[in-house]
Point group: C2
Chain length 331, copies 2
């Protein structure tokens, strides 16, 4: 297993990326190609014990910066780490591309460099979202690759999501729901109604509409939506969690006895924080491009990078590309 990591991508690169790569190479026994500026990468590698690990450096002189215009930068900076990493995958020198860099840039680099899987109209960016169900998570897509969609795109997001949930996440016969404004058939926008009509005849386990409140409740294993709504949902979840936990802490601080209580309850709070922590999920797969691509949070630390490499490794091992290409659920 050989993975290509954009070593210069993300707010904390290259320290966090190199550290995460060392961590993953040790924990999972994978080869991680560190793509970027050799001297910067070497300086970081020197801080770790890399005995027995396979961490080759693939030189790339340019970087897609976080504030670069994604499409323009990807086109202009041919020698950017993202582009070089994607070319590694394209050429068959690597099994997957992983980045914590400019996510619009990552989308563009993967789409331009790898192309779409034949028959897939639009790639979709996915994420794992925590739920209160026994399983503890659902698989949500699209969370930002396509802000304007057509019903057949949503139909295909359901297909790719179902295959990923089944093969990579180990969910048997995943329940696929589409986000809408009511649970009853016929509720929602014209787009959703038309997509649901297509999905009713799909070869996956389509369970109909799910409302906003049903997502954290875990009513569906795969939650399909357009990239506009999906992006608003995950960012809103981040903001609301911060607000809620912040408010609880503030209220606790305002009460003398409650401070003692909060000290005692601290373990519980930490457990909740961990449950919600995007670092645990290790980034989302970009499904539908012709190569395994994992795009993770710009704020990723070493632990998130390690987890993103693990997610990429799983997707390669379970051959999600082949599954989407054949469109069948043969596990």
């Amino acid at each position: 297993m050989i993975l290509s990591l954009d070593a210069m991508g993300g707010d904390r690169a290259p320290a966090a990326t190199v550290h995460g790569a060392v961590w993953a190479a040790r924990d999972f026994g994978m080869t991680v190609q560190l793509v970027g500026r050799p001297e910067a990468i070497e300086a970081e590698l020197a801080k770790h014990d890399t005995t027995g690990l396979d961490l080759p450096i693939i030189p790339a002189g340019e970087v897609i910066e976080m504030d670069d215009h994604p499409v323009k930068a990807v086109r202009a900076k041919k020698d950017a780490g993202m582009n070089v990493a994607v070319r590694q995958v394209k050429a068959g020198h690597s099994d997957a591309f992983i980045t914590a860099g400019n996510s619009g840039g990552a989308l563009a680099a993967a789409l331009f460099g790898l192309g779409r899987i034949r028959g897939i109209k639009r790639p979709a960016l996915s994420t794992i979202f925590p739920t209160s169900s026994e399983r503890g998570f659902c698989f949500l897509l699209d969370v930002g690759a396509n802000t304007d969609v057509r019903p057949e795109f949503l139909y295909q997001f359901g297909l790719m999501g179902s295959l990923y949930a089944e093969r990579v996440l180990g969910v048997s016969k995943p329940r696929v729901g589409i986000v809408s404004t009511g649970e009853e058939e016929g509720k929602g926008s014209t787009l959703v109604k038309e997509a649901a009509e297509l999905m009713k005849a799909a070869p996956y386990n389509f369970i109909g509409n799910v409302e906003g409140k049903d997502i954290p409740a875990g009513l569906a294993d795969v939650v399909v939506t357009d990239g506009f709504t999906g992006n608003v949902i995950i960012k809103f979840a981040e903001g609301l969690s911060k607000f809620l936990l912040g408010t609880i802490k503030q209220e606790i601080k305002a009460r003398p006895l409650a401070v003692a209580g909060s000290l005692l309850a601290r373990g519980a709070f930490n457990a909740v924080g961990k449950k919600l922590d995007y670092r645990e999920f290790g980034g989302g797969a970009l499904l539908g491009v012709n190569g395994v691509t994992i795009i993770t949070h710009g704020r990723s630390d070493a632990y998130t990078i390690r987890n993103a490499l693990r997610v990429a490794g799983n997707a390669v091992e379970k051959d999600i590309l082949h599954a989407i290409k054949t469109g069948k659920k043969e596990i």
Copy 2:
């Protein structure tokens, strides 16, 4: 001030509605017309001390049930409480229509019975949403009246929201934002980009795009979105809050010491619950119809009904209808 309450509407009607009306009549000195089945209303009124309160009963023999098809039921049941209450407003015998009943039915009853304000293309359902800002809330619309919108509808939602926030909620020069996938201009769906272009030239204080995470942070005082996205947001907020608070409680229960902690911290938890409680906000105004209309949660209890009547009273007192009709911000 005379308000017309759909006394039979909502999961807990008529007990909660009549109780809420008694409460509001006493607290705010308003006349509340109780519209519905006289014997049911009288039986509830008998449970309260109504000395000195003005609570006339307006007979209405039919009810739009929670599982009725909204538009069909509103058309078929001419003598439903919602329709009778709306006719009270239309005829000038009342200043506002308030209901906790079938919300689709309430939309239809208000739209058919009162019509749109001249020049307003689509009415929008609004809500007050808690934020971590100093003000503690934002005004969010549309949360479900229109699942398919055009840019000019969003432009008008911004106008109506700004006027409401300024006149009724007392926010000076409200910052109006549009929900999108990135803060930078040009991010988002085609719909949002076109709407933002219109809003840049609006007579209100348009501050551009807000992301999902910016809503609970209170970056905008008025948050404009289409009724599909808005509905998903508020229902997702409900589900996520339940999940988060439930998880914290579960984690606390799992720890022996934490149980003691949680007893001490209980006051803090209650304060947070209150902050998030839709009961405090008293329902959302349906803006753009030609009569003050407040639609509140189907699960409303007496306290929510009381607050919804207070919200209606404020909207009447501050003459939001006149403000929207003139479209100017003259306070």
